[in-house]
Symmetry: C2
Subunit: 214 residues, 2 copies
Amino acid sequence: MRVPNHIGIIPDGNRRWAVDKGLSKENGYSSGLNPGLILYHLCKKSGVKELTYYGFTTDNTKRPANQRIAFTKACIDAVEMLSKEDAELLVLGNYQSPMFPKELLPYTKRKTFGKGGIKINFLVNYGWEWDLGSLTSNNSSNRKIISNCLKSYDISRVDLIIRWGGRRRLSGFLPVQSIYSDFYIIDDYWPDFNEDHYYKALEWYNTQDITLGG
Amino acid sequence: MRVPNHIGIIPDGNRRWAVDKGLSKENGYSSGLNPGLILYHLCKKSGVKELTYYGFTTDNTKRPANQRIAFTKACIDAVEMLSKEDAELLVLGNYQSPMFPKELLPYTKRKTFGKGGIKINFLVNYGWEWDLGSLTSNNSSNRKIISNCLKSYDISRVDLIIRWGGRRRLSGFLPVQSIYSDFYIIDDYWPDFNEDHYYKALEWYNTQDITLGG
């Protein structure tokens, strides 16, 4: 079975899950922590080399404050949880903004936790405009030069993106790294994650003809 | 019904269609011309304001020469066909490369044909690296400034991308304009286009909750 090197995770549907459960929207995020940890272990077991979680974006911070506080806390908890595992961990996002939680500043340079191994990227207060904002005027159309000028230069091409919650869009997720990503949608909400979602996504990816435009 | 302002078309599957018909791969492209024209008329009738066709990319030009010649000819024919309709037509792509057909040079500045009206963009020898390659060193994270620095500055945000041929990927299609695009996949190959594909895509788009991250 052809396993993707790099999987991107868009863990959507937390608010809709909460509303379905009769909770208020901000109460959906904490139930996304455990799925994130299970998924990490599944990826490690499959031999995935890099995993990127979409935490929150600069656009998301325009939501009501109680939601913003709740998803920020969930991201802090998730990163601290992952730092107890074996990982090469990086938190990437606009850390110069007040929306970036100071608790995560120590993670904005990639660091090895435990025995390292799998690269984990966690996008926090990420914006595509922030990522592309430092492209220099070399006026080069060389892909390597462009990629090296991105703020996300340390994140490699994403092979497979899995999005929970049924929406069929990227919502600003790493526009350059996802140029050739295969995109798999799961209708269930992220807090309703189960292992089968992951295995179905891998099976599907295995049937895709990866041509990179050739 | 909420009609998308801007639809992106990824007309994939021409080669697979040809092979299924017992033809050689390069014979699949010319059968994509008529679908393109029908789609133009459907979009115009629905009130779509802008339509972008994915012709070929810098990556595609690495395919065998007979295929490259065939898809280049199909793009020339398609643009000339559309120039006989009412449209504000622009061909966008790296026109400084030998892979860009000289027949299409007159179309690289937007021009009004017939009574104008709908904006039509046709990507020819387009590469994401070419598009992003002239981002200047303003070091700005302002979305408008970034968008205005793109080679594709005259192409607006894409609301709905429809891809034929079953693949679930963008393959480099306008990475900045497709940040929030909803992505609809049709398993049939592009030469097997029928009107129902289009109407089903519009119906699906109508049910999507467009949040732009909010």
